[in-house]
Amino acid sequence: MDALSALKMMAGSQVGGVQNAVSATTATTTQAIPAIELQQLNTDVPVQATQAASSTSGAGFDNLLGNLVNEVSQKQTAASDTVSGLLSGKNVSLHQAMISMEEANISFQMMVEVRNKLLDSYQELMRMQV
């Protein structure tokens, strides 16, 4: 297969790995994991389905990254709204401001970790001997 879909597959498995660690600590995962990882675990799925999944996983993965960035920026704006509400004396209590700041922080770290893993995957790929 070509370099781009190989990159997407490796990046997909890296993101899937982070996702699985997170889902081990939370009760549910609501976001679809890139199809590759799930398909490889599911022995019922025929090989053709795997190939079809690899061609659609490119589009799915772009959406995944876009959604991640959107959600992180939503958390950040919610945090800054809460903090400015607290400072201007509106009925926001201190603990709400602290919690939303910390959640925004964790979300941002999540995005940074995803970026790091993608970068590592890319560099790993580039080091491969042709």
Partner: protein, 126 residues
């Protein structure tokens, strides 16, 4: 993806209970401020809220827990032990004050623990 990180039901419930305990602190402050005011009726978190919260938790739907709004209401079960109609009793109100402070500390600790878990899962370090 981010919302899934924070949708653990015990975390959502702890956040809501923290809101409730801060609200209750305000009710207790108002009650103790008015302990000598004639005909003052004591306030507390609305008792209907407690039962709604129980059913929301047992249904397992953390989204419905997150949208609940606790409110203060006059405590109809309080009786007046005094001639002036004031229903605040100093000793029990002080006990509630202490109990509420401990509850607040407990919920804050739960929230901190949940956040530490999430942070560990995301970054791999504590």
């Amino acid at each position: 993806m981010i919302n899934a990180l924070f949708s653990d039901s015990s975390y959502v419930t702890a956040k809501k209970m923290l809101d409730v305990s801060v609200l209750r602190q305000e009710a207790i402050a108002s009650n103790l401020a008015n302990v000598e005011t004639p005909n003052y009726k004591r306030l507390d978190v609305a008792s209907s809220f407690e039962s709604q919260l129980q059913s929301a938790i047992s249904s397992g739907n953390s989204a419905s827990v997150a949208t609940m709004q606790p409110e203060l209401a006059v405590d109809t079960s309080a009786v007046s032990g005094r001639a002036d109609g004031n229903t605040v009793q100093l000793e029990s109100e002080m006990l509630r004050l202490n109990e509420n402070t401990v509850e607040n500390a407990a919920e804050t600790e739960l929230i901190n623990q949940s956040m530490a878990k999430i942070r560990m899962a995301v970054t791999g370090k504590s």
